[in-house]
Amino acid sequence: MKLTEPLRIGDRDYRSRLFLGTGKFGSYPLMRQAVEASGTELVTVALRRVHLHEAQDDVIAHLQLPGVHLLPNTSGVRSAKEAVLAAQLARESLQTNWLKLEIHPDPRYLLPDPIETMFATERLAKEGFFVMAYINADPVLCKRLEEAGAAAVMPLGAPIGTNQGLQTRAMLEIIIEQSNVPVVVDAGIGAPSHAAEAMEMGADAVLVNTAIAVAGDPVAMAEAFRLATLSGRIAFEARMGAVSKQADASSPLTAFLVNE
């Protein structure tokens, strides 16, 4: 049985609507098991300057799983110029045109810089990248990024790593309503219920990292997120009933025991 519609982003179809970040896992084997348990087909990796005289251990070797694609991010850059170079290096390193564009110069809240993100998206889309832009939940900015050629927009639910859930819910609703490119809710998703909530609202996918990586049992939590994301999507496609203030009986109200 085909449970949900596949999600098309760029030149690829995804059956799983849960994307995973690979940061903060205690070990590579744990990360790999969580990736497998999540059912994800897209995982992020970061780039870092090579530290000389340090043993190089290759994270990618642990992420080579059937059907799992890599999404390099630009974490650590502070401007559009740096992001463009990071993207070009990522493409060279991983042989992929896919990119999670994130430009967050402020270390306290890690909130993305909309102006630099806009400039970088324009440039990178022209260079043939599938840009998935991490941004604040700003509906106007999302439309501008769409026009600039973003393959997907990734509005945040709450600041990165906070597990606060969909603090930006009202703006996410507008973004989802208006967007012509996939909307991936990223950052702040702290519990499977948050992922389900985003999917029920009509988000095309969610990206989760911290909530899984720092859980007591990351592999079990990955499974919980897999189910919640799938559940939320099925609910969305099944079209939920309307919300109302007054009661509406689920059982017949005709008199049963007493007929007066």
């Binding site: 970040g21 690979t22 940061g23 903060k24 896992f25 990360m31 992020t44 990796v45 970061a46 780039l47 870092r48 300057r49 090579v50 530290h51 000389l52 190089q56 290759d58 994270v59 990618i60 890599l70 390099p72 991010n73 974490s75 170079l85 990071a86 070009q88 290096l89 990522a90 060279e92 390193s93 991983l94 990165i160 790593g161 990206l207 990292n209 911290t210």
Partner: protein
């Protein structure tokens, strides 16, 4: 003699480290010197321009070049 030696050497900055290299050192030779030539997912930029892997053996470094060498790590 010293002057001659200086002329034959170049100074570059690799990530945060200053290195002294032979004149005419290629990117490939630099990576070999660092025992990183086999590293599959290293990417290199010189003065903010990516040097593709296929060009490593022909690209000669110059004095004062800024070399950026990156590799993938875990991240969200």
């Amino acid at each position: 003699m010293l002057a001659v030696e200086r002329e034959e050497m170049i100074r570059i900055v690799l990530n945060d480290d200053e290195l002294v290299l032979d004149q005419d050192c290629t990117v490939d030779a630099l990576l070999k010197q660092l025992s990183m030539a086999e590293a599959e997912r290293i990417a290199v930029a010189v003065n903010d321009n990516v040097v593709r892997r296929s060009d490593w053996s022909s690209y000669r470094l110059n004095d004062k070049d800024r070399v950026l060498m990156i590799a993938p790590i875990q991240g969200g």
